[in-house]
Symmetry: C2
């Protein structure tokens, strides 16, 4: 990722990004819940895919009312099987195709009805260059880092790359996800808010919580 | 797993298993390709599930023509997204449900038509106790093993637990998967047969090959 951006340029870009998101600091476009126009998306690039996780990260573009193209990140992930629906899946498939058979082993392709084949779609819109960068397949390196390296190189880079925290203010100010709050401690000093994490698929037994 | 089985009992059980599979040594039930009666399966137990891999391993039972219950292992695994079908998926979904929205982030449940939501089903039928054991969730241990330990403890256990190699003879004798063979070297000494592995989903670019 490019690190050669001056502080002035950085501030300018942040302002642009906030304007693009339709939100000044603590503003929040949380009230606007018109569904994202998925069918009108133009696919620009597959940022990353994971055959093991059955997930794909897409860079797409949508034309706004003003005729302008805006970037979006779409993450598609197949959902885990739900134990209580497995039997239904075996009985209600629309088609079963034999792929191969050998001795006691055989493989099939099974085509389930829509209600049994949910996909989780996560949309980031409008997406900034930082979002596109975040979801792009990255090479991984192992680095030995002194605390000076952390202070002088890593920390400034992290701060420069930080994404907007608007979504956190939306939760704290009850402008978004208010109905998802599980517990709230209103103490002015040690207070916190607890709610299910974004990444949790609402079907798994294991619950991911986010404490703010 | 129980290791206290005597050699006589072991041979007897192997014969039973081979009879159950409808195959003596080198016999092979490969010609019988009537589809497995998936809709008639009674679910006995979920052997294992992996939320990350989107896979589930089932122990089921099917009643044969003679009225007898027979064990089966069914492995269901959602298939990876195919790049060339992703755009179709975004346009042809049957339903799109908003789950949450906060700032520029939102999540949806998307319900694709059957032809775009393939599941790979692997069937082991009839399954032996060894198959049920193989797919059951196992605790994992890290063990320091000397070569004596390997020879005296591990190797006898592996040999005792070995599954039937009937499927290998079926391939070598062209009784099954003959149409899947990619390359064959008929040399009587160094000859081999190359074909796509069972675990390969036929859509991925990475090809798993099996050399016999």
């Amino acid at each position: 990722a490019a690190m050669a951006e001056g502080p002035q340029l950085k501030r300018k870009r942040q302002e642009e990004e906030e304007a693009a998101a339709g939100a000044g600091p603590h503003g929040g476009a949380a009230a606007d819940i018109s569904p994202f126009p998925l069918a009108e998306l133009r696919l620009r690039k597959v940022l990353r895919e994971s055959a093991r996780d059955k997930a794909v990260f897409l860079h797409g573009e949508v034309t706004t009312a003003s005729g302008e193209g805006r970037d979006a990140v779409i993450i598609l992930e197949k959902t885990p099987f739900q134990e209580e629906k497995v039997l239904e899946l075996l009985k209600k498939h629309t088609k079963l195709e034999l792929q191969m058979h050998n001795d006691i082993y055989s493989t099939y392709h099974l085509y389930p009805p829509p209600e049994l084949s949910e996909i989780k779609a996560t949309v980031v819109f409008p997406a900034t260059q930082k979002h596109l960068q975040k979801y792009l397949r990255q090479e991984v390196f192992l680095v030995r880092e002194s605390w000076q390296d952390y202070r002088d190189i890593t920390l400034p880079f992290i701060q420069q790359q930080a994404l907007s925290l608007q979504w956190v203010y939306n939760i704290l100010e009850k402008k978004a996800e208010a109905e998802r709050i599980i517990h709230e401690n209103p103490d002015p000093c040690n207070g916190f808010v607890l709610l299910p994490d974004f990444k949790w698929n609402q079907n798994q037994v294991r619950l991911l919580l986010l404490a703010l």
